[in-house]
Symmetry: C2
DNA sequence: GTATGTGAAACGATTCACAGCT
DNA sequence: AGCTGTGAATCGTTTCACATAC
């Protein structure tokens, strides 16, 4: 069986595999092997087999993996059998862009609530959702059964809102503010530091003074 | 000396250290030690010392690190002594949000060009930059001396544009399209898969069927 | 014959613990 | 006395290579 612990590096690749398999399914490929998945996902076949083996034995030796059944298994493992309920906190430009980002709904992330601190925005309706006040955060989280929060607020406000989110029972936060959030055990944070990513690229542009 | 190769994991943490040091400088702390940096950055002191030691010997034993001089060294290593010239390809909601994202300019990333395929957008001016046609990509890259490209175009278009970027001499790409880009050796790609990040969070929400 | 699943080997990253410097 | 810089030990990840199953 499979319910052991899955290495973090493997977990990060699972969404990529899922995306590739959905693509394969759309191309009417009934079965794929580890070489094909690796090709699509940008890794190697051994990696794919190891990763999938952490979840169970889903392949057929001599054949490969049944695309649809592997999609089902991966979706189950990722907790995506039904769409996850997401709240966006901070409806500035980034928050607004994310709310209307089609890639979320496609990949089973449903934005069920949008919150902001600006009284001018509160009450207005955007894409079927009414912007509510961050002051009502706890009530909104409960009412909408929010599972994942996306934080797109200014840096200084991020920690306080994170605290409120945790108190309201949210256990998964994606943080776009360039601030390291302190959260208790059991709460998962993904840090999206866009400027930081660009700075990593910048490092690679620098001529490494390597030569002798 | 320092010009050896820096591990990728270390490179990813350098922007975080830089941000923390800038913060420390703003708080008028002349010197910090590895424990304080670790505290701010969300790691441990040994990690900080190892990471910094890959770049050289910047600390003073018994004292710590001089904040301003370490900022200078890190900025140099990251190639941020002057702002990097960035182009945004794809002026949809995400591209537009990124163009006006204040965190970029603050961290030495200057958006010098915006390109799109939509004739209705081309020629309009946004935040001091005129939107140009993707057809003129090579010319724009040359004229504006673009060093880093941010791709916020629909998935199917991403690879083709990446090819053009590489042909035009761009060697660093941040890709928001959920597609693995194929680029030649020497070109660096950072994949920003926002939906994928949320799916990783979703995995952790799932009750791991661990118990016996 | 073919492709998976997996121990074992190789590699890389993190943590430890202390010598060396101020 | 205090904190850095770094070898050595530990831990985790990736790759290899093959027994196993179809």
């Amino acid at each position: 069986m499979a319910p052991a612990k899955v290495p973090p590096t493997t977990v990060q690749r699972l969404p990529v595999y899922l995306r590739c398999l959905v693509q394969a399914s759309a191309m009417h490929m009934p079965v794929v092997n580890s070489v094909q998945i690796a090709e699509m996902a940008g890794t190697n076949a051994a990696q794919v087999r190891k990763d999938l083996s952490y979840l169970g034995e889903f392949g057929t030796r001599g054949v490969g993996y049944d695309v649809d059944s592997l999609i089902t298994h991966l979706s189950k493992q990722l907790g995506l059998t039904e769409s996850r309920r997401v709240a966006i906190i901070g409806f500035g430009r980034l928050g607004s862009a994310l709310q209307s980002y089609p890639g979320f709904e496609e990949r089973h992330m449903r934005v069920v609530a949008v919150l902001d601190a600006d009284p001018a925005k509160i009450g207005t309706s955007v894409g079927g959702v009414t912007i509510e006040s961050v002051e009502d955060l706890a009530a909104v989280v409960t009412r909408e059964r929010v599972e994942i929060a996306i934080l797109t607020v200014p840096g200084p406000a991020a920690q306080e809102i994170a605290d409120h989110l945790v108190a309201a029972g949210v256990r998964a936060i994606m943080n776009f503010a360039p601030v390291r959030l302190r959260v208790p055990e059991g709460v998962e944070v993904r840090q999206a530091d866009l400027a930081g990513e660009l700075q990593v690229l910048s490092f690679h542009l620098n001529p490494r003074t390597a030569a002798v």
